[in-house]
Every structure is written in C-alpha cells, then in structure tokens.
Amino acid sequence: MPHIFSIPNVTRRAGIVWYRNLVVFVRTWQVNFFPPLVEALLYLFAIGIGIGTYVQQIDGIPYINFIAPAILAIAVMNSAFFECTFGSFVRMYYQKTFDAMIATPLSIEDVIAGELLWGATRSVIYVIIMLPVLAVFGVVSLPLALLAIPLAFLGGLMFAGIAMCFTSVTPGIDTLNYPSFLFITPMALFSGTFFPLTLMPAFLQYFALAVLPLTHLVAIMRMLTLPSLSWTLLLHLAWIAVITAITCIISINLMRKRLIV
C-alpha cells in the first residue's frame, strides 16, 4: 500500500484534466477575468492611495510600490487556494466529476495532479491580468517584474498543494471555511504584506518565516517588482520549492486514500 510520502505515479493524462478546467474557465470568462482586475484596482486605491497618503514611504520606498508585490502575492495565494479547496471539493463531492474521470484511463493521481496544475495556472492568469494594471500606475518596474509570472506558477502550485491537503481531509464544504479564515486571512495581513515584517516582535518574525508560506512569496515578489534583488531570494525560493513538493505529494496520496476504497 502506498503511504502518504510515496511518489505518486502521475502520467501525461493529468494534462487533460487541466485542459478540462481551462475550457470551463474560458467559457465563463466574464465571471473569471474581472475579479482580479477589480481586486488590483481596489487595493491600489484603498490601501495604496488611501493609506499611502499618510504612510508615504517605507524604508525609502513609496508605500504604493511597497504593497504592489503584496497585491500580486495575495492574488496568487487566493486564486490557487480557493480553486483547490472549494472548487475541487465541488467537483469531487457534488458534481462527482472525479468519479466520472477515473472510469476512464485517467487515474486518481492524474486527476489530482491536473487539479493542482490548474490551481497554479489560475494564479498565473491572475498575475498576467494584474501586472499591466500595476504597470500603468507605475508601481512595478518592468521588465524584471515579468518574472512574477513564472513565480506565480510556483507559488500557485504551493498553495494548490496546501489547499488540496485540506480538501482531502475535510468532512464537508463548510469546514473548509476554517483554513480560509484561520490561516489564509491572517497570513494575508501578517506576512510582510502591508507593513514590513521587521515591525513585528522578533519571535513573530521567525514564526512568519518558518511557517507562513506567503512570507516567502511576498519577499521574492518584492525583490522582483521594486526591484531589489538579494541572494536571500534563493533561500525563499528553496523554502517554497520544498514545501510545494511535500504538499503536492501528500495531497495526492491523501486524496487517493479518500477516494479509492
């Protein structure tokens, strides 16, 4: 019997599951394309220009430029996380889409891998929509900020993996609200997003760096958009890569355990 750390046997067929989700996304584009656009504008006006009037600079950086990468990082987190919690749960539990898929040559590993890749892709799409808006306002610096796009895929995959772990153990759709407001919402506020990590007590800074995935994503994103590159980028990248690999593997095995009895 495979255990939760065994490497799942994912085949190229995962791409078909990814494609199915892409088709549905594009078909309902009106409801999918505007939220990230509106979200970017709301954050820019409310926090960037609103609060930015009082907080003009952080460490010599205009406040609106300081939060621009956080807006991108939060969008990466939210789009992948909600896609692979509520979105995947609806497809698994209510629509029985996974049951229909595994009656074909697709295996459950292929299906979940396709879902994870799709969650990451959704993050990429959101960043692609938001970047031009931020660029027009002159708060991100091109061309280095374009690297936010591949970064969105890696970060998205990490949050998709984390989300799928919750989905694999949740008894129902309501209990998915717990990780949303106990984990995701606080993380959006305390990961060096709207104020620097250094403002927090030392132990909270260590805590954020040790266990809050968004901290690392925001840090890299900020290095790319300001830009202010530093060798610590590699450490953040390594942290994300390790957590991504672990959560994706565990989530596939947990889903297998849940669905194949």
Partner: protein
C-alpha cells in the same frame, strides 16, 4: 465462447465489513450477464472491482485477460461504464459531455466530435446537443450517460442499474439500445433491481446475497429449477390455511395471499385439488417468474 471477465474466490472487505465474500464467475464474450441481489448484496462493489476503481482484498480477477491492479489504464481504455449515480459534468452541454469525455480516452479531437454527434443520434438526443445537462429529464440523463459510456467503442459495457427511476418508455428505449449493442458484439455486464428487466435482457445471471453468489444460470433455467413453471396463489383466510394444513400441502404466507410451494410439477392438479377441497374465494395460477426465484432465495425481509 471465450471468457472475457473471470473471478475466482474474489473478496472485498471495507474495514471490518465483508462486502464481497469469495465469489466466482465467468462472463463470456458477447453475452449479457446480470448481477441481481438485494441492497448491500455486493453487486456494486463487484462492479467497482471490475472497473478498476476499487482494489480487491484477495482472490483473482482478470478483465480482458489483464489484472485490474496491474493494468488499470489499459483495461479502462476498453470499458464503458454507466454508474448508478448520475455523474454527468454540469459545466458542459450534452455534446460537451461526450466530447470532453472522449478526450479522457485520448481520442483525437475531430474523431471525438464525430463520435459525440453520432452517439447523440444513437440515444435520440440530437436536438438537445447544445443544451446544458441540468436541463435534461431523468430519462435523458440516463441516455446521455449510456452514450458517454460508448465514446471509446468499448469491448465491455458495465452498467450499474442502468434504468433506475425511468418511466416505461425510457426503459424500453434503453433495452432496445442494449440489445443492438449486444448484436454488434459488445459484452454487457449489468446489475438491476428490476427482475423483469433481468429476465428479458440477461443471457445468464447470478443472484447474490450477503456478498455471496447463491445461484447462477439462464433466467428461464433458474425459474424452472427453483420454482417450477407455474405458481399457485390462494386467498390466505383461516379456513383455507387450516384446510391446506390438514391436507399436508406445503405453503408460504405472502401478505394476504398464500403461495403453495413445492408445486414444481402438476401445478394445475394441485390447483384443482385445492379448489375442490378448500373452496377458496380467490385463487390464481400464473407462470413463475424470476421474482419468485429471487424472493425464494433471498427471503422477504427488508434490507438496510
């Protein structure tokens, strides 16, 4: 005829409950093979093992000469599955459901389009081609699921209660489609609770209960062997019951009627005797059916 599905001492446990308890059967190429039994008998579990979505606990199972645990993708490439639960994709139209399902089988896109349209016609849903599946009636949904099970031109069709909840018209249409598929050389394995359906369609069937196979055979043979050609049912009043008891006629109470048992031969003579001696107000003799076999073997108690 060659064996296309073969099970020997097949077992499946869910934690501590035994769902399938060492069954043995062989499905031959080109036949319609039925699994009958009360709820919880282990029919659906058996289907799930055949369709490679539930691993067996022990025993051997081969489908198309392959082991579901070793070559699930290869087996599933040649299976068409109609599940008990309707799991059409609500994000797509009727056409979309067939088209995207074809892609899961690696069927090229233009071929998938062609097959989807062809199958919509086969199940008479062409005019619903671009309608969302939410808008379909129950019968239409079952027909679309049957069409979906055919996109990969399967060698074996696995149907778990294909006509559940359908009106007589829709059931007849499904039966007609299944027969034409059999005529084309498909092997069909099905479960059903409708015994008339099983008697009409199945070349051979098994009756299961508590995870075990009780009997196996052609429907007509099973009827003849276990309940005879005709059934005598008499009004169940106290007088009649006393009379039957005095004459030593074996019987079984079924609601307000009494069914005379052990009338394998000479049902008419028995009927005449009862009519003369016991003078019941109501009595019928009727041809025995698969339902009589089913109830005789699995009892009349409610399950679950």
């Amino acid at each position: 005829m060659t064996a296309i599905i073969k099970a020997h001492d097949l077992k499946k446990n869910y934690n501590s409950t035994v769902a399938v308890d060492g069954i043995q059967f062989t499905v031959k190429k080109g036949e319609i093979f039925g699994f009958l039994g009360p709820n919880g008998a282990g029919k659906t579990t058996t289907m799930k093992m055949i369709t490679c979505v539930s691993p067996r606990t022990s025993g051997t199972l081969t489908v198309l000469g392959m082991d579901p645990e070793e070559k699930p993708a290869e087996i599933k490439q040649s299976l068409g599955v109609v599940p008990q639960e309707t799991n059409l994709d609500p994000d797509f139209t009727c056409f979309g459901n067939l088209y995207y399902y074809s892609l899961y089988f690696n069927i090229p896109k233009d071929e998938a389009t062609r097959r989807a349209d062809e199958l919509l016609e086969f199940v008479q849903l062409t005019e619903k081609r671009d309608v969302s599946v939410d808008k379909l009636s129950g019968g239409m949904k079952r027909r679309l699921i049957l069409a979906r099970a055919l996109v990969n031109r399967p060698d074996i069709l696995i149907l778990d209660e294909p006509t559940i909840g359908l009106d007589p018209q829709a059931r007849h249409l499904i039966w007609e489609k299944l027969r034409s598929l059999q005529a084309r050389g498909n092997t069909i394995v099905m479960t059903t609770h409708y015994l008339d359906e099983a008697a009409r369609l199945c070349d051979r069937l098994v009756i299961m209960d508590n995870g075990k196979i009780l009997v196996e055979g052609a429907p007509a043979d099973l009827v003849r062997e276990h309940v005879g050609d005709e059934i005598v049912e008499v009004e169940g009043s106290d007088d009649v019951v006393t009379c039957l008891r005095e004459r030593g006629v074996p019987f079984e109470k079924t609601g307000d009627m009494v069914q005379v048992t052990g009338t394998t031969e000479k049902a008419r003579e028995v009927a005449r005797t009862i009519l003369d001696r016991c003078q019941p107000a109501r009595m019928i003799t009727r041809p025995a059916t698969l339902e009589d076999v089913f109830l005789k073997l699995t009892g009349r108690n409610l399950r679950e």
